[in-house]
Symmetry: C2
Subunit: 441 residues, 2 copies
Amino acid sequence: MRPDLRLDNGLILTMNDRFEVVDRGFVEICGSNITAVGRMTEISNRPQPHEVLDISNHLVMPGLINCHTHAAMTLIRGMADDMPLDTWLRDFIWPAEARFVTAENVFTGTQLAIAEMFRSGTTLFADMYFFEEEVARACIEAGMKVLTGEAVMDFPSPSHPTPESTLKHTESMATQYRNHPLVRVAFAPHSIYACSKPLLQSIAKESRRLNLPVHIHLSETDEEVTNSLSGNGLRPLPYLLQTGISERLIAAHMIHTDQKEIELAATLDMGIAHNPSSNMKLASGWAPIDTYTRSKIKCGLGTDGAASNNNLNLFNEMRGTALVTKLLCKDPAAMPARKVVEMATIGGARVLGVDNITGSIEAGKAADILVARLDQPHLTPLYNIWSHVVYAMHSSDVETLFVNGRMVMHKRVLQTLDMATILAKASKLNKKIQIDLFDSK
Amino acid sequence: MRPDLRLDNGLILTMNDRFEVVDRGFVEICGSNITAVGRMTEISNRPQPHEVLDISNHLVMPGLINCHTHAAMTLIRGMADDMPLDTWLRDFIWPAEARFVTAENVFTGTQLAIAEMFRSGTTLFADMYFFEEEVARACIEAGMKVLTGEAVMDFPSPSHPTPESTLKHTESMATQYRNHPLVRVAFAPHSIYACSKPLLQSIAKESRRLNLPVHIHLSETDEEVTNSLSGNGLRPLPYLLQTGISERLIAAHMIHTDQKEIELAATLDMGIAHNPSSNMKLASGWAPIDTYTRSKIKCGLGTDGAASNNNLNLFNEMRGTALVTKLLCKDPAAMPARKVVEMATIGGARVLGVDNITGSIEAGKAADILVARLDQPHLTPLYNIWSHVVYAMHSSDVETLFVNGRMVMHKRVLQTLDMATILAKASKLNKKIQIDLFDSK
């Protein structure tokens, strides 16, 4: 079959098992897949594609993977900052959510998040929020990949009166989207402190029956650990295992772990979503991510919601992961650039259980591809592409983005979303949320 | 006199003493100065300018101030990363510098640095390097403000055979640039460990005689403190005072200080240049910047050289300062956004001793002005402009930049530098430096 498109003359970070870098290489795309990757000197062996894009002086790498976010929280980006966690939650985030979290607003907030994520090179994100059917709808419309996670807690959510209803809804979404090219579905118990043991046990059972991932906040704060020890007699991870949740586990944060938990994590089918900006901004602590990666635990990066970041830019998370780990380990060699790029790409794909289909530039994988300019002052000269990506590159260097072979951004213009309309809608909502909040005080 | 230009309808962060924010405001520019700032409702009282720029939906704030860098080190950006400090210095940085630091290359490297700094909103930087006459020349050509600092050590530098020659050169530059609109001159002893006591004493004397600032690396590493204690019987700051250096002092880093040094610093005519990215990347430690600001010590931000950052983007430094301080203080309220914006603007001007002429948007000050787009997904919605600048904004949002009223960038296009030529020159040099380095091994 004649390929649809070939990207010619790029510098390719394949992120394959050998971390191969191809200078002056090509990537061939047919339908939604990559069909060949190689050096320009080898293209004479390849069939002529319908279209060739010359990307000399550009970097080609896998689209970035955001392993933990609450996309629609973009609507309350910067609403409340620089304050203690309980004031932030009780006086701002929860009252705001009580007012703005409707199906319609989640759709708008997710569109805004997708616009931002496309423009910073993200092609797949794991979400945990409410009205996830709207998240799926926004992603399908825009051509974004998502692992949805309808948040479940003991108490009623904005979208469901009972946890049972949420679980049923998750099952029906899983059925609806089975084999969908963009949408996958996870169970998303909020946390061990917001979900009773019986609820966690039924999620364990259902997730096994339906073969779905379980996406949960775990060991985010010191308090969570203290309470788990006093309430459950166990630290968070062993307690979670006791409920039966032990497979396809996506643990967001994992900041406060002890040596035994780390050893335990290494034996499990689990991945960690590390959220450096949010963990710093809320002063939650710092995950020992260097120890996790050295222990061969699957690790990816997340932005968390825009309310605690305040953006969804994985370039910030890469830079933060490398720099802060060096500082805290007192070792400039800790978390070298290549390891961090791995977390943002194939590592994230492993965490979300999709490394067989995405996360690297290899024949047979989905064409989830980021193309970035290199002809910029802050990227000149170029000695080492790994260090450039982590320490020097900005999200705005991302020029073109493909998801499943579909060009969702080109020359920084979104191809599948009407940005002006989304920005106008979100700004209008902001005014409403602000007025509502002030009225209620 | 009829004003040259008025910026209309912007959201203005004045950074005046009251941290006034003007929504739908104007900034009037005449020659190199700001002549008026106010609300759009007040413009009927103002004379008609030659030109009006409508900047609805844009932020206006003072140009950012980089209090510590080695501009020409852009030429070895990313040459060596993720390695212990001594390997980095001995095997890479020093051998590379021995080869590439010539007058011509410093000029090129500084041009590259200015291109990058303009494109990330910087209008003034304090440099410490060699061939500073070339740094001054590059800045004058481009219209950038600089405080030059020809590095002086006990041993010969690439530009001067003896420290005496460097001091003479500094004096002659100070004479040459007296009252220059863009260039000021400082003495720049490298550090207390690279300068003998007699050398520091003569710098103390000369800087007092010529009324010039003294820009020095101070308390950057644990080792420096230990060696100062054992060699001088004093910690770095009291030792420096003993040499007579106590006025117009710009101390870069100031990471490892004790309570007494902090109290001492608060009584002195000194400022601190905090370099978060470099301090993390080299694992040097973290300056107690919250304590410094609470102690009313003048504090600004720096990027350090591109070899240890790896860019010259003060938005990264703002974000890092806020986030890492929160993490280390275990307090999400530590280093709130406004305080960080202060460090990047008027605070930096105080550190460099130029707060009477720049660092805020006020009538009478120089028109050193940054204009940034707000109509971006990652900046929508807008609740709080302070948190947007620190946590959400990217350097690429800077659209237009003025230095002394001259437009040096407009719609992200540099107006005074030929970017393509500079990038080509720097890339060529990179190949030469790489070949030389490999040949020497």
